[in-house]
């Protein structure tokens, strides 16, 4: 009797709501008694209290990003509820320009990648996190440690102006230019501090950024402060090795080959051969050991300010001897709110110290140097390193030719040091009297101070045309970027139409100045202080979002941007955009479909602009006078000779118009989600540094608006949770992009040569021509004999005029891939997890500049000494470089399939019983696992298609631990 009475007694229920996987308590979770209005939400510590609860009541817990949970109350009135994250990301908040949306409501082409989706592995710089993860986003990294990458979104939209996307960090668009001494603009951001990336691809999403947005936008949001105290420690150790070598003759093979002369007519001085056996590539490459340690503490200061502090240490060795990258990051995020969340303040401050040593030399010399000589010989005048030299009455004279590559690297110390601070203060105020209106003010800054120092040994080799003994110079550079953004946002629902209006203003200023010190060992050296002209960008923007019946979405945006780079007549650009989306799956005929759980059709059109050229004042008439050693002398008196600078007064905005149709889908209750998109971008008034007629300007080449580029593409993304239950999780992401880039128009219909190559003099191997892909290879057609061997210097006379000249060249393929594919998969079973990522590129071609400029027999003679050449020369028996360097046989299909990472981990749940929550995950992985390609060069992934020996990429083995308290 009593029990049934107590069953119906109303009591107060207390509880705590937690995230199952992250092990955190969740504040702000909605708790409501199902079917009633009796509800509350959890406090900062995830705790809640509800009165008038009785057994049998069903409580519904809901929280953005998590699956709703219903709990029936039994006799326990103090409960712990675990919520699991909603992996169907459609409700996830996504950052877009000046605001947020959800994937559900997004009308433009936006992809959000959050911490749990990040590519795992040896992550040193932020771009690594996105590698192969997003359709249309292509990231090419150099092998150098901590180095920057080339990122392009949908193939970029420019020819000569930057093709790099706009990168915005916590609302601050950063400068795409690097600083002296630094390895790259993203190099000093700790990937561990990044919460999410939003990739904005189409015009509608990017137009609000107006200028600089033609190539897409990547918005990086760093992790914020949290109230609950947590402590994380992440560490990893990696061991890397370069396994590939370019095939050149070994010492014995070389001796045999040279002694077998005469080699096609030339006689080599065999007395120059030595008796040693040196593999120069082995000598300059090293195995690498790198470490990373990251500490993050989250918690609340004074119980009022959620804070996150992190400290990171990264030490990376590069594959080439002496190459080194060290970084210390400090990051602080504070996110207090006041006046019951009416005023939200976000303060972010980041500091990075970066120390690098750059290897003063590369594989080039290692391929060339005579393998029959040792690395070191005691007693040489060159600090104990072997060099080719002759002794004369006056002393010793360095023989003309390549110098000892190990000596070049070890006898130089080229270091760079960067101190970077960036941060922002974000004030978000919801008006008290009008809560639908909020005002946001964002103040940001990014300041980089870099110094470099290059010193070479006094015993280094000196070339024939200089008296100066080596180099001892240093310099510095300061870059600063200041931003002020302010906007008002009004949301209200009128009848069935949800309205979201935004209007704002943006001001940004970039400064850059530096100093290049003279070479202290050169009495003629001159120091130079320089200051670049400031760049100022001012913008006015507005956006209106209308949602009708939750099914029909319309976004209109407009931005007017002014840049200081163009003259007053050409300064302002107008960038409108419109997008429409239809949530078909919410329509009655599909609402209850079992197959299609999510279907949204998107269409958008917009115009974005580009003005990022290296010259900040090219439209102005300016004059420059010379250094003290660059003066003419009239009547015995030096005169400050002044020359007019190259000028283009008509330079104006490059504009890209993008039209896109997309379909976001979800099948079988969102077991499969993804999107299909088709787009066309037309860039007009392309900014490009193109040759200008001699005599018409003050130089031979100047940045101009010269043409039109069209990019058409198709993107496909698929995400699927193949298995998802309490124990097992298998998730797969697949993306594919097809790109077709074509130059529609060039100024005067004139071709523009580009793509300089090594070997020979002033040769270019690429061309911009109307109707063809940019950077198409421009080569001669090689002729072969009946046995299939190429005939040296024999090219097809396409014009039939009896002369082989420029008119007989033709366009063959281009470095851009037709299709790029990415796949990422992660599988976890209980405490085990395994993840890998694959990338493929199809239809990209490379010009093998190593073979074209080095695999010729006459190069066995390296000026006054003997030189090594690639063994591929035996396939062709070519003699003279200039006869063959422009042959189409060096254009190779460099399609590839790469596995970038594979990691395996095991998580210990609460190994330290003393603390309530903790976890330790140990993991191991391999980076740069394998590459499948038919390309004969060292690595098929060369950004501009001209393979002249990139910094070698190591295969790395990693071990790491993530410890959370």
């Amino acid at each position: 009797m009593l029990s049934s009475l107590s069953m119906f007694a109303q009591q107060t229920l207390t509880g705590i709501v937690r995230d199952l996987t992250a092990g955190e308590n969740l504040p702000g979770v909605n708790v409501v008694v199902k079917g009633t209005t009796n509800g509350t939400s959890t406090d900062f510590d995830g705790k809640f209290q509800l009165k008038n609860i009785k057994t049998g009541d069903v409580l519904v817990f809901s929280y953005l990003g998590y699956l709703n949970k219903e709990v029936t109350i039994d006799i326990n009135f103090n409960i712990t509820v675990n919520l699991t994250e909603d992996s169907q990301k459609l409700d996830e908040v996504v950052i877009i320009g000046y605001g947020t949306t959800t994937l559900k409501d997004a009308t433009g082409s936006v992809e959000a990648i959050t911490a749990k989706d990040f590519t795992k592995g040896n992550i040193v710089t932020p771009e690594n996190l996105l590698s192969g993860r997003v359709a249309g986003v292509n990231i090419t990294t150099s092998g150098a440690p901590g180095s920057g990458s080339q990122i392009t979104i949908r193939g970029g939209s420019s020819l000569g102006a930057s093709n790099a996307p706009l990168i915005v960090i916590d609302g601050l668009p950063i400068d795409n230019n690097g600083t002296a001494g630094s390895r790259g603009i993203l190099a000093n951001i700790n990937p561990n501090d990044i919460e999410s990336f939003s990739i904005l691809k189409d015009a509608s999403a990017t137009a609000i950024y107006g200028s600089r947005a033609s190539n897409g936008v990547i918005i990086i949001v760093t992790k914020k402060g949290k109230n609950e105290f947590t402590l994380d420690y992440d560490t990893q150790y990696s061991f890397g090795k370069v396994t590939d070598r370019v095939d050149v003759f070994s010492a014995d093979e070389y001796r045999a080959f040279v002694n077998s002369q005469p080699i096609s007519g030339t006689t080599l001085d065999t007395s120059l051969l030595g008796t040693a056996n040196t593999n120069w590539q082995d000598e300059i490459l090293q195995s690498t050991l790198s470490t990373q340690h990251n500490f993050t503490v989250k918690g609340s200061i004074l119980n009022k300010i959620p804070t996150r502090v992190s400290l990171g240490f990264s030490n990376q060795e590069g594959a080439i001897l002496t190459s080194q990258f060290n970084r210390v990051n400090f990051s602080l995020a504070m996110n207090p709110t006041f006046f019951k969340d009416h005023l939200k303040i976000g303060l972010n401050y980041n500091r990075a110290h970066e120390d690098s040593r750059f290897a003063a030399g590369g594989i080039g010399a290692a391929l060339r140097y005579d393998p029959t000589h040792p690395v070191r010989v005691p007693g040489t005048p060159y600090g104990g390193y072997y060099q080719h030299y002759t002794t004369t009455t006056d002393g010793f004279v360095l023989s003309n030719g390549t110098t000892n590559p190990v000596a070049s690297i070890l006898q130089s110390t080229n270091t760079g040091n960067v101190f970077r601070q960036y941060g922002n203060l974000n004030l978000d105020y919801k008006f008290h009297f009008l809560p639908e209106l909020k005002a946001v003010l964002n103040l940001g800054f990014d300041k980089t101070e870099g110094t470099y120092n290059n010193v070479s040994s006094l015993y280094g080799p000196r070339s024939w045309n200089t008296d100066v003994n080596g180099n001892d110079s240093s310099g510095s550079q300061n870059r600063e970027n200041k931003l002020l953004d302010g906007y008002l946002n009004y949301t209200k629902t009128f009848n069935d139409i949800k309205t979201d209006l935004t209007a704002g203003y943006s001001y940004q200023k970039f400064t850059n100045a530096g100093f290049n010190g003279r070479n202290l060992r050169d009495p003629n050296g001159i120091s130079d202080a320089y200051a670049a002209t400031d760049v100022v960008l001012i913008g006015y923007f507005g956006r209106a979002n209308f949602t009708f019946l939750e099914k029909y979405l319309l976004t209109l945006s407009y931005r007017r941007d002014g840049t200081s780079r163009f003259s007053e007549e050409n300064r302002w650009g107008n960038f409108p955009a419109a997008a429409f989306a239809w949530r078909i799956s919410d329509e009655d005929f599909l609402k209850d479909s079992k197959v299609i759980s999510e279907l949204k059709l998107r269409a958008s059109y917009g115009i974005t602009g580009q003005q990022d050229i290296p010259n900040n004042e090219i439209y102005l008439s300016t004059y420059r006078f010379g250094n003290t050693n660059s003066r003419y002398i009239f009547g015995g008196n030096p005169i400050q000779s002044t020359i007019p600078q190259a000028i283009n007064p008509d330079i104006k905005w490059e504009e890209t118009a993008t039209l896109e149709f997309g379909l976001d889908y979800g099948l079988f209750d969102n077991k499969f989600t993804g999107s299909i998109g088709v787009f066309q971008k037309n860039s007009t008034d392309l900014l490009f540094n193109a040759p200008v007629a001699d005599g018409s300007n003050f130089t031979n080449s100047i940045v101009q608006n010269i043409g039109e580029l069209e990019v058409k593409g198709l993107e496909f993304t698929l995400n699927t949770d193949i298995i998802k239950n309490d124990d097992t999780n298998w998730n797969l992401n697949f993306n594919a992009t097809y790109l077709d880039r074509k130059i529609k128009k060039l100024a005067l219909g004139q071709d523009v040569t580009t793509g300089g190559v090594a070997g020979g003099t002033g040769n270019t191997v690429q061309l911009f021509r109307e109707g063809f892909a940019p950077n198409s290879f421009y080569v001669y057609k090689q002729l072969y004999d009946t046995a299939g061997n190429p005939i040296e210097g024999a090219y097809l006379d396409r014009t039939g005029d009896g002369i082989i000249n420029g008119e007989d060249r033709y366009l063959k393929e281009s470095p851009g891939a037709d299709v790029t594919l990415g796949m990422q998969s992660s599988f976890s079973y209980k405490n085990f997890d395994i993840a890998f990522n694959l990338r493929a590129s199809i239809g990209n071609y490379n010009y093998n500049n190593v073979n074209s400029s080095q695999a010729q027999l006459s190069l066995l003679q390296d000026n006054a000494v003997l030189g090594n050449i690639p063994t591929s020369v035996l396939d062709t028996n070519f003699k003279v470089t200039s006869d063959v360097i422009l042959s189409d046989m060096y254009i190779e299909n460099a399609s590839f399939l790469k596995m970038d990472n594979i990691t395996l981990g095991y998580t210990f749940d609460r190994p330290f019983k003393a603390f309530t929550t903790n976890s330790v995950r140990l993991w191991a992985g391999v980076q740069n696992v394998f590459t499948l390609t038919n390309y004969s060069g060292l690595d098929p992934e060369v950004f501009n298609g001209i393979d002249n020996l990139i910094f070698p990429r190591s295969r790395t083995f990693l071990l790491g631990a993530n410890i959370k308290f």
Binding site: T392, D394, V397, L425, L427, L443, W464, N465, T466, D467, K482, Y507, N524, I526, A532, T533, I538, G562, T563, S564, L620, S621, Y623, R624, G626, N627, T628, N629, S630, R631, Y632, I633, F634, G635, G636, P638, I639, Q640, S641, T642, I643, P644, D650, P691, V692, D694, G695, S696, N697, F698, N700, S701, Q750, T761, G762, N763, G806, Q861, N863, A864
Partner: protein, 536 residues
């Protein structure tokens, strides 16, 4: 707690307000001005009246400098600074392509093709020459645009400066005409553009006939405004320079236009000779570090400046002095450069050495050849111990000192000098231009006497072959040889073959279209009005 929060808020608000004010939105901020200490806005530059001479200095400087940020800088993009230095490339194209010199380091861009006469339109030295010379033209055009009466009025320039500017304008026009003269000689074509055309407009093409007409009329028009011979500051052009260019185009008129103008040539040589010039007391003075102050100032009509302190450039004199130092001899110290120089970069071809054979020339001061134990034959160009060397050029002074810098020499390059005029008189006379044989022989004898050579020339000795040979003896390594050989019909064809001509070790015949160089392919690509020369 509330108070503290309010106080904090107020503090934040004030801070924000201050920050906003410091970032004040001025669309005027979009009007930027150059910040670098060496760059000026045009309107600021012309505020000072000294600007005009400095701007003229910039036009002249393009003859010696490749850029104004040190010897490594270049306003011609895509090339090493060394491949577009005016005097050096002129020297390569006119001297290295013929029988007087050979360059050992054939990996240097473009040199191999020029010295073996196997050049193509892709050659970087040709791109450098075409680009650099047209730079002088565009600087001169800019100078003329900025010094029109209207502009000077608007800027309130004083009348004394305006008078000087008249002379400056004449000099700018002279340098422009001189540039077109070299284009006519080297390429047979040029991109023609004057100050009346807008910047960035497409120049039209002028062929030899049109260039000849222009250069002739231009030099005659400016004659009155130029200073009298030897009356202008050192390094600045005067009437004599204009007369010299006219004399050159008249001498070569048959090559340029098919019609001979030897009488006019003779007239102008007489004008120059009557201008007050006289031979330097010693031949060598013309080629030494102090040739801007020693007796050579009487002989040099127009120098290209080089200076170890103020005018650093990898120009012709820097190259020739460092280059002529022998690989075996290491005789650089006496020449005012580093002992090893450039390890034997420049040597002599056999045919040149043979011009000084015999007792006649054993004491001739113009014979600076060193043979030592060397082989006169050059079978392997890269073997720097073969072939003879010379010591004509020097960075030492006539008083026993050395130049101020071991790498960048003080020695100016005499583009035009009186000895050349003497020889031109004699040649013009022999080709029917007037004058007398006696005077001609007298001039040639003067040159010999000055060179301590007692074997003088009589009227009966005069012959065109003698002139050609004597020009080589007197003017070798001064960027004249190719032009002379073409005029005598001996550059192309097989009538005269020298070591390595046409890439044959004993020389082979060259096809006739090699009498002009090809227009560089990049210049053709950027100007559709230009057409390639026949045969290329």
């Amino acid at each position: 707690m509330m108070m503290k929060t309010t106080f904090k808020i107020t503090k934040i608000c004030t801070l924000v307000l201050v920050m906003i004010l410091s970032f004040t939105s001025c669309t005027e901020d979009l009007d930027i001005t150059p910040l670098d200490d060496q760059t000026l806005l045009g309107e600021d530059f012309f505020k000072n009246e000294t600007a005009y001479k400095e701007l003229l200095g910039g036009v002249y400087a393009n003859l010696s400098l490749t850029g104004i940020d040190g010897p490594g800088s270049s306003t011609i993009q895509g090339l090493d600074a060394g491949t577009s230095q005016f005097g050096r490339v002129l020297m390569y194209l006119q001297t290295l392509s013929a029988d007087q010199m050979i360059w050992s380091y054939e990996n240097d861009p473009g040199t191999r093709e020029i010295q073996r006469n196997i050049w193509t339109a892709q050659n970087p030295l040709l791109t450098g020459m075409f680009g650099r010379t047209h730079n002088t033209i565009s600087y001169a055009n800019n100078f003329l645009r900025e010094t029109t009466d209207a502009k000077l009025e608007a800027r309130n320039v004083s009348s004394s400066t305006r008078t000087e500017i008249k002379t400056y304008r004449a000099e700018a026009r002279l340098l422009r005409a001189m540039s077109y003269y070299y284009m006519m000689d080297i390429f047979g074509k040029a991109a023609f553009i004057t100050e009346d055309d807008a910047i960035n407009s497409l120049p039209k093409q002028y062929d030899r006939a049109q260039l000849f007409t222009f250069v002739e009329s231009e030099l005659k028009e400016i004659d009155a405004d130029l200073k009298d011979p030897m009356q202008n500051e050192h390094a600045r052009a005067d009437k004599a320079v204009a007369w010299m260019i006219l004399a050159k185009i008249y001498l070569n008129a048959e090559v340029y236009t098919g019609n001979e103008r030897y009488t006019d040539c003779l007239t102008y040589t007489e004008k120059i000779i009557g201008g007050g010039f006289s031979l330097a007391s010693e031949y060598g003075h013309n080629f030494m570090a102090d040739n801007n102050t020693n007796s050579a100032t009487n002989e040099i009509i127009f120098p290209l400046i080089s200076d170890g302190i103020f005018t650093h450039n990898y120009g012709p004199t820097t190259v020739m002095i460092n280059g002529e130092v022998g690989s075996l001899e290491a005789n650089g110290a006496a020449l005012g450069v580093g002992a090893g120089g450039w390890g034997g970069a420049l040597r002599l071809r056999k045919q040149f050495v043979q011009l000084f054979d015999g007792a006649t020339f054993s004491t001739d001061a113009r014979n600076t050849i060193i043979s030592g134990s060397r082989n006169i034959e050059i079978t392997d160009i890269s073997d720097r111990d073969t072939g003879y060397i010379l010591t004509k050029w020097s960075n030492a002074t006539s008083t026993g000192g050395v130049g101020s810098n071991e790498t960048f020499v003080d020695t100016d390059f005499p583009l035009f000098r009186l000895a050349d005029v003497y020889l031109m008189y004699a040649e013009a006379h022999l080709r029917g231009g007037g004058g007398t044989a006696a005077i001609a022989a007298g001039y040639l004898s003067d040159l010999r006497t000055r060179a301590n050579n007692t074997n003088t020339i009589s009227s009966g000795d005069l012959s065109l072959n003698l002139i050609l040979d004597e020009r080589s003896r007197e003017l070798h390594w001064e960027a004249h040889r190719r032009q002379d050989l073409i005029r005598f019909g001996k550059f192309t064809g097989g009538s005269y073959n020298w070591a390595w001509k046409g890439n044959g070790s004993n020389g082979i015949s060259l096809p006739s279209h090699f009498d002009v160089y090809p227009i560089p392919s990049s210049s053709l690509a950027s100007n559709p009005n230009l057409t390639q020369n026949t045969g290329y």
